[in-house]
């Protein structure tokens, strides 16, 4: 298993009520790499991301994270479905940042970041607090640790959400359109945090419409449309000199 990349998906299929949303996605993300998923809305990018940490179950295919099949246990050549609490254990190593932040509304910024380590990892409260304060400072929110989500701007909420994921010391970070719900002037702060995270060697799978971020931070860009991978390659090639018509059409529309 040790020769597997950090994330490997094999033939991932997913349907909703007869509509095939994912039609066999094969994707590898090696440790330390940043991969951006681009493509038109409804193309299956978010669904795929949600399959990776088993928020959605796949209909066919497998997803391996750090050598483990997500949602299953491999024994004697068979995959045994896991209980929800066992899946929870697998999810610890995967952080996820949502389009709508999903901060816990009844907890302050600091508590949002501390809760995971305390309740899930059993980290002592004082240590969790110190680490959470460090993380909030790192995302530029040292001044707002006592604020409730409703008292924060969207950009601030999203940075707290990133800190909340990082507090679990994940091996892989998933970003599901992290800047799509933000006012344009707030996008930069969030992207800056993500860029520095990428520079520090975090393995990241990012669904985004921010072409600038993809061009600058991604090691690889995957263009996804109609539930299938259309084109894969370094950003300079996929964004600068796409081989497929589908990609070219999309880029023409987005960059217009």
């Amino acid at each position: 298993m040790s020769d597997l990349p950090l994330l490997r998906t094999v033939g991932v299929h997913k349907s909703y009520g007869g509509t095939e949303v994912l039609r066999g996605i094969d994707l590898d993300v090696a440790k330390g790499r940043v991969v951006c998923l681009l493509g038109p809305s409804g193309g299956g990018k978010s669904t795929f991301l949600r399959c990776v940490n088993h928020l959605e179950t796949v209909d066919a295919g497998q997803i391996w994270v750090a050598g483990e099949p997500m949602g299953y246990r491999l024994r004697h050549g068979k995959l045994y479905e896991l209980r929800e609490r066992e899946v929870a254990r697998q999810r610890r190593k995967i952080g996820m940042v949502f389009q709508h932040f999903n901060l816990f509304g009844h907890r302050t910024a600091l508590q949002n970041v501390m809760d995971g380590p305390i309740r899930v990892l059993g980290t002592p409260r004082e240590q969790a607090r110190a680490e959470a304060l460090d993380l909030l400072e790192r995302v530029g929110l040292a001044e707002r640790t006592g604020a409730y989500p409703a008292q924060l701007s969207g950009g601030q909420q999203q940075r707290v959400a990133i800190a909340r994921s990082l507090a679990m010391k994940p091996e892989l970070m998933l970003f599901d359109e992290p800047t799509s719900a933000l006012d344009p002037e707030l996008v930069g702060d969030v992207l800056a945090v993500m860029t520095s995270l990428a520079a520090e060697g975090m393995t990241m799978l990012v669904v985004t419409h921010e072409m600038g971020f993809a061009a600058e931070a991604a090691d690889e860009v995957v263009f996804l449309a109609d539930g299938a991978v259309v084109e894969t390659g370094p950003p300079s090639q996929v964004l600068g000199d796409p081989r497929e018509d589908r990609t070219r059409q999309f880029l023409a529309r987005v960059l217009a």
């Binding site: 928020l55 929800e84 952080g95 816990f104 509304g105 009844h106 409730y148 008292q151 994921s165 679990m168």
Partner: protein
């Protein structure tokens, strides 16, 4: 123009309608007061009845019965609500049936059924697998009037609590659950740490209302002879025939406990989530973004 120079005097609008309606209300209240003054009520005996021993017992039973019934209803209601939201179709079906049944029947009828259970089940036994009994007792002994009232009130209320809790749980957006999952929380931790605390804001106000209703609903236990406030006041008036005076004494106690409960509810609501934090409504969130 005048506006350029001096501020002009302002003549407020005469709101005659307000004066007239206020006078009518006051006049009606005065008339009511006169009528009550002329009523054949021995007002001065009411305060005495408040402190009769049987009245104190009635007050105690009313409060204890209401608190026990509401507390049991909350526990059962949470369980039924979770069954109702379960992925297991049999559990969902059972919970729906439970709510349908206990909401459908009048409380008084439920209390009477529990009270008369001995007519159809004279003995209640719970047998152990290899002989012997865990419980083996006459139904009349096991189910006293108080127990029958408690069962009737608690089970009836549990159906309402199940719906209140369900509404509270579903009011918490799925994004909250997904975020909790994404940091590796187990379903139990997610429920306890993320969903329930936020559902409380929705659950507490109607629960407070229900508890106030419950305080008054205990009066139905008087029918089967539980010495709560109504039964206690009937008890007194059967000796001195001052029916209205003893009922008014009971009324005073009801107002006292209901007022205390309302104050408690106010503080509970405040503790569980001012609107300025809590899960932000969609509108509020997009306004902030």
């Amino acid at each position: 123009m005048a506006a350029d120079t001096e501020p002009l005097p302002v003549v407020p609008l005469r709101r005659w309608g307000r004066w007239i309606s206020a006078l009518i209300i006051i006049a009606l209240l005065v008339l009511l007061g006169i009528a009550l003054g002329n009523a054949k009520i021995q007002w001065n005996s009411v305060p005495d009845f408040l402190w009769y021993r049987v009245m104190a017992i009635g007050l105690l039973n009313t409060v204890v019965l209401a608190v026990l019934a509401q507390a049991s209803a909350i526990v059962i209601g949470v369980v039924i609500a979770l069954l109702r939201l379960s992925a297991n179709p049999v559990a969902r079906w059972f919970a729906s049936g439970y709510i349908w049944l206990f909401r459908g029947l009048p409380v008084l009828l439920q209390i009477l059924i529990w009270y008369n259970l001995a007519l159809v089940f004279p003995m209640i036994s719970i047998s152990l697998p290899f002989g012997g009994h865990l419980v083996h007792e006459q139904t009349n002994v096991l189910i006293s009037a108080f127990t029958a009232a408690l069962l009737g009130l608690a089970l009836n209320e549990s159906a309402y609590m199940a719906e209140i809790v369900r509404a509270g749980l579903t009011s918490v957006s799925t994004g909250q659950t997904e975020a909790a999952k994404s940091i590796g929380m187990t379903p139990a931790t997610t429920l306890r740490r993320v969903v329930l605390p936020q559902a409380m804001r929705v659950i507490i106000p109607p629960t407070g209302n229900d508890f106030i209703n419950m305080l008054k609903g205990t009066s139905m236990a008087s029918v089967i002879g539980v010495t709560e406030l109504i039964h206690a006041s009937n008890n007194i008036s059967s000796h001195n025939l001052l029916v209205m005076e003893t009922l008014l004494a009971a009324a005073v106690w009801y107002m006292v406990v209901v007022t205390i409960a309302s104050i408690g509810q106010h503080y509970l609501e405040r503790a569980f989530g001012a609107a300025d934090r809590g899960p932000v409504s969609r509108a509020a969130r997009s306004a902030r973004v």
